[in-house]
């Protein structure tokens, strides 16, 4: 008897462990998200506070326009004349004032000719002028060096020096907007006590050289101020403000060091807030899936314990007591699993940072920051979800009549077909209506989300109605191939439609999202690739290494390429933020005449070749919307030049263009409105009759001095362009995999519980000659059927979502619908294999069942 009790306990423990895992994973995701973002926030908060530690105030240009990109340095501001530095220095209470510039791209090249770090992917390669005022910089020289004293000397950060094996006295090449140049390394600096600035590589130039590189001769981006001892930051700032006003420079902003810190920290916070929300969405999905598992487990356990419940009721337990005992169980699971989830989340956050650093995305700092939110939300959500998921099963348990104690088998309540059909069908139809009106009727994103959720709920409610049919259809080939084992698997999968459909529904959610993302991303990718094919007639692209940001090529390279005899036309593309008619977006600049030969844009007025420095090319869509014609002037604002206006000189009729943003200006216009000149891409078209091989041979030698430059033919360029999208897709798959794993745990759990229920049946099968291998095979194929049921439903929903969204976004440039068949097939195969994996453990348990015990179990 003790043995039976013990076995029963083990069985219980196991099912609770499996249920718990669903909660643990979901909660770990939530807590991990909070810990991860809080840790990064803390790192940057410290860093920022450190950067401005000695700064009492700062003078800077007024903000040109708001930009939502976030991150420090993202706010576009006009530069300040260098002369202001002297005025500020004279203001009362000012101990020292020093202007500086920030160089967006200063890439150090190691001795083998390779770029140090990976600015296209991770921390940037920045440059600054050497700041002689000790309080205004955290860079301090390692013994044995000195500050840069002339344009040929630089100081580099210790991290880069170590990576590139540079020592004081070495010569190092630095790539900037100027032609590549060799500098003498005269010093190596630490940032505070760290080897580098949050992973970024930094080159410190002599100030005049820095200004030249930044495209700001005799100008500064900002002027840092150290106040006299005894004065508060506010007093120093007020004094400076007053002095500037007296000199007619009241337009300049003066902020305290504290304000600078706050601003930068909150900018980081905002960016991390998006990340946080994004991750929480996936965590939420995972928890919803987990809720299905908990619900299902409790339902099955309660059904199996019907006799126990009935016995309790028969000997006088009230419904309330039975209800309480089930809820109590779920509470215990909820509390324990949530607590474990919180710890798991902390571990997850640490692991994630480690993985990111392996991928080359270095994040500074050490140790995880665990905010109260991580614990509170993790525990709260975990416990609430567990409790809610157990309410319905607990109520069913409480409703068990005492007389059921006398009955033989666990009775599941019958399916009320009509009610289900009505509710499920109604919700589904409502969902489709909401979804469509959100997408096409302009009812907004919330309609889309609510519609999607309603569709899921509808399909879920309808589940028991079709689960038997679909699983028996899915089982046909299996029964054919595997004979009676397959037939048994198929019948088992269909025998309890409620259970099968809930188990499958958990998987359905994850797979639907994967399927949707796949359709959407594949369509977007194909549309973009189609756009590239249609709009680019060049033969080669020289890619600066990053996708429009973080890197660049000196404009000199394009001029050299243009001069090659084999090249018919070449144009660089430069990209920067701008406000055009109140909308802030990236704007791309091209060399008009060669661009005309390279980019095939359908024109409804004007020619790309005719773009003047004050001209702009716009889309027909925005022209129609604002009633602009050729010759109309559009208000625009740039960080450097402030308010200005651009003349419409070309209107193109394309849904999307291959370049960032929707507006094009000329290279001359870009040079006028932006300080730093860096080419993100160079498109080169070969003369007719020149073979691609000849072209490559001619261009390649020119790239020697530019280690980040990649020479790509159109196929390579396209592959490179979709790489980012693929990475993003990979990340989303990675985040959704949580939900999918939880769903497969659910399948394993359901199987284990079903097997427990079918002990006698399996014993009988074994007695009449079913081998262990056949038992395992039977369970395995049941698992595969349930997996495929969930997967196919999910894919059907995902394809539907993907299709309507793609249709809805036709005007946004997603013109091709591509379901990504290969990926979808891979998903189905993956699901089938995962079904096999999920069955391993339950199947082994089933195969190990003692035949005798199984057939003699009462």
């Amino acid at each position: 008897m003790f043995k039976v009790t013990w076995k029963g306990l083990i069985a219980h423990k196991l099912r609770f462990v499996l249920t718990g895992i669903a909660v643990i994973l979901g909660v770990a995701f939530i807590s991990g998200t909070f810990v991860f973002t809080a840790t990064i926030q803390q790192t940057f908060d410290d860093l920022i506070a450190n950067i401005y530690k000695g700064t009492d105030a700062q003078v800077r240009g007024p903000e040109a326009f708001k930009q939502d990109r976030g991150g420090p340095g993202a706010t576009p501001r006009p530069p300040i004349p260098a002369s202001v530095e002297k005025i500020v220095a004279r203001a009362p209470g000012v101990e020292a004032a020093q202007g500086n510039v920030q160089i967006e791209y200063a890439q150090l090249v190691d001795k083998k000719g390779k770029a140090i770090g990976n600015p296209g992917q991770g921390a940037p390669a920045l440059g600054f002028g050497w700041n002689p005022v000790k309080q205004l910089t955290q860079f301090n020289l390692v013994a044995g060096g000195h500050p840069p004293r002339n344009p040929d000397e630089i100081v580099i950060d210790k991290g880069s020096a170590d990576k590139g094996h540079f020592h004081v006295g070495d010569t190092g090449k630095v790539l900037t907007g100027l032609p590549p140049k060799n500098y003498k390394i005269v010093g190596i600096a630490r940032f505070g006590t760290a080897d580098n600035l949050a992973g970024a590589s930094v080159v410190l130039f002599e100030m005049a050289q820095a200004q030249r590189i930044a495209g700001l001769p005799a100008k500064f981006d900002y002027i840092g101020i150290v106040g006299k001892p005894g004065l508060s930051q506010d007093e120093v700032a007020a004094n400076v403000r007053k002095t500037l006003q007296q000199d007619g420079l009241g337009a300049l902003e003066v902020v305290t060091g504290k304000k600078l810190i706050d601003e930068n920290q909150s900018q980081i916070g905002k960016a991390l807030g998006f990340l946080n929300t994004g991750l929480l969405v996936f965590a939420f999905v995972a928890l919803i899936v987990g809720a299905f598992i908990i619900y299902n487990t409790f339902s099955i356990v309660v059904a199996q314990r019907t006799r126990e419940m009935a016995l309790l009721r028969a000997i006088g337990a009230s419904t309330r007591q039975v209800l309480g005992s089930i809820i109590g169980e779920s509470l215990v699971i909820g509390v324990i699993a949530s607590a474990m989830g919180v710890f798991g989340g902390i571990a997850l956050a640490i692991a994630l940072r480690w993985v990111m650093s392996l991928l080359g995305i270095d994040l500074p700092g050490s140790g995880a920051v665990v905010p109260a939110k991580a614990v509170i939300w993790g525990m709260l959500v975990g416990i609430v979800v567990t409790l809610l998921s157990s309410i319905v099963p607990a109520r069913n348990a409480a409703r068990v009549p005492p007389v059921a104690a006398l009955r033989d088998v666990a009775i599941e309540r019958p399916i009320r077909r009509g009610v289900r059909l009505g509710i499920g069908g109604g919700l589904g139809v409502l969902g489709v209506i909401a979804l469509l009106s959100g997408l096409f009727g302009g009812a907004g994103i919330w309609f889309v989300i609510v519609g999607a959720v309603l569709i899921f709920v509808g399909v879920f409610v309808l589940g028991p109605l079709y689960a038997r049919f679909v699983s028996s259809v899915l089982g046909v080939p299996i029964a054919r191939v595997k004979g009676v084992t397959g037939t048994l698997a198929r019948e088992n999968a269909g025998r309890n439609p409620k259970r099968t459909s809930v188990t499958a529904a958990a998987l359905m959610i994850g797979v639907a999202l994967v399927g949707f993302i796949t359709v959407f991303a594949t369509s977007a990718k194909q549309s973009f690739l189609g756009t590239i094919d249609a709009q680019i007639s060049s033969d080669y692209v020289i890619n600066s290494g990053g996708s429009f940001g973080g890197t660049g090529l000196s404009p000199r390279l394009d001029r050299e390429i243009a001069k090659l005899p084999v090249v018919e036309a070449s144009t660089p593309v430069r990209v920067g933020p701008a406000q055009v008619n109140k909308a802030v977006d990236l704007i791309a600049a091209v060399d008009p005449v060669p661009a005309q030969k390279i980019f095939a844009l359908k024109s409804v007025g004007g020619k790309l070749a005719d773009l003047t420095p004050d001209g702009i090319a716009i889309s027909k869509k925005s022209a129609d919307k604002h009633h602009w014609k050729i010759g109309s002037t559009i208000p625009a604002k740039f960080a450097k030049t402030g308010n200005t206006s651009l003349r419409v000189e070309m209107i193109y009729d394309e849904k999307q263009i291959v370049l960032p943003g929707a507006n094009l200006i000329s290279l001359q216009g870009y040079e006028k409105h932006y300080s730093q000149q860096l080419d993100a891409l160079i498109f080169a078209k070969l003369k007719p009759g020149v073979s691609p091989e000849e072209g490559r041979k001619a261009i390649e030698p020119l790239l020697k001095g530019y280690p980040t430059a990649k020479l790509q033919d159109n196929a390579q360029y396209k592959a490179d362009q979709v790489k980012n999208l693929n990475q993003l897709l990979g990340l989303i798959y990675g985040l959704l995999i949580f939900a999918v794993i939880i769903a497969f745990i659910g399948i394993a759990n359901t199987l284990a519980l079903s097997i427990h229920e079918r002990t006698r049946e399996i014993g009988l099968l074994r007695a009449v000659g079913e081998s262990r291998r056949q038992v395992r095979s039977m369970i395995r194929w049941e698992s595969v059927i349930i997996s495929l049921l969930g997967t196919l439903l999910g894919l059907a929903i995902g394809l539907f979502f993907g299709w309507v969204v793609v249709v809805a976004l036709h005007d946004q440039g997603i013109t091709t619908f591509d379901p990504g068949i290969a990926t979808q097939v891979a998903i189905v195969i993956f699901a089938g294999l995962s079904g096999v994996v999920a069955a391993i453990f339950p199947a082994r348990r089933a195969a190990k069942l003692d035949v005798l015990r199984a057939i003699s179990t009462e």
């Binding site: 009676v484 049946e761 009988l764 007695a767 009449v768 081998s771 262990r772 057939i855």
Partner: protein
């Protein structure tokens, strides 16, 4: 050991069969040095009070359970030397089972249940034989029904048909009528008897019901794990007498 050579062919035989559960003070001898033969083509009943070891004996001869010591011969195969895989094959190919209850797989139809062992072996059933079995079971019109749509007696008849379908050397029945009313019991038992008479099937049946045992051609009595007596061509009242006698001992 002296064992008289069997006068008729033996389908199964237990030799010094012992089955011991537990050890020391809690030791239970379910089977205590049992020697017994089951003749081919005979309908043998094993009787005894509960705890006498009759079910254990059946399970051991059928290869469902293993002995602590001694041997079981099924035909000329010694079971204790076989591994789990071979035992499964033996059960599937050479033995038929009828249990007290839960004899049929609820998800399979009657005919699917009958052909289950053959299907598990990946063999085709002998159509003619199957047809013959179905005829004697007399459930031709219910073959497509699931067990839940059959009466208790019908279910047990399907179970017997299943046991016969693979032409086993021996059929073991463990209280096949334990869950049936007297009418259904009679139906199943006379069917089993008919099978023995008409096709010479060997059947070994465990029962505690004298009326059921009276259908057999021989009754073996067990008590405390030992074979203590046997009757040939029993009648219900002779069995009852014998049991009373044994009970009084």
């Amino acid at each position: 050991m002296t064992m008289s050579p069997p006068t008729t062919a033996v389908a199964a035989r237990a030799v010094h069969a012992s089955k011991i559960y537990g050890a020391g003070d809690t030791e239970v001898r379910a089977l205590d040095d049992v020697d017994v033969d089951f003749e081919k083509g005979a309908y043998t009943a094993i009787m005894g009070p509960s705890g006498s070891g009759k079910s254990t004996l059946l399970h051991c001869i059928a290869g469902l359970d293993t002995l602590t010591s001694g041997q079981i011969y099924l035909g000329d195969i010694e079971l204790s030397s076989l591994n789990e895989k071979h035992l499964t094959q033996i059960r599937r190919d050479r033995i038929g089972f009828v249990f007290q209850s839960y004899n049929l797989i609820p998800t399979l139809t009657a005919i699917e249940n009958i052909t289950l062992p053959a299907a598990l072996a990946g063999r085709d059933t002998d159509k003619q034989w199957l047809d013959h079995v179905v005829t004697i079971v007399g459930l031709r019109d219910r073959l497509k029904h699931r067990p839940s749509e059959l009466s208790g007696g019908q279910q047990q008849r399907v179970a017997v048909a299943r046991a016969l379908a693979s032409r086993p050397e021996i059929v073991f029945a463990d209280e096949p009528t334990g869950n049936l009313d007297s009418r259904a019991s009679g139906e199943v038992l006379s069917f089993m008897k008919q099978v023995v008479q008409e096709i010479g099937q060997t059947i070994v049946m465990v029962t505690h019901d004298p009326i059921a045992a009276a259908y057999a051609s021989r009754v073996v009595f067990l008590a405390d794990g030992k074979v203590i007596d046997e009757l040939r061509n029993p009648q219900p009242d002779t069995i009852l007498d014998k049991m009373r006698l044994l009970g009084a001992e």
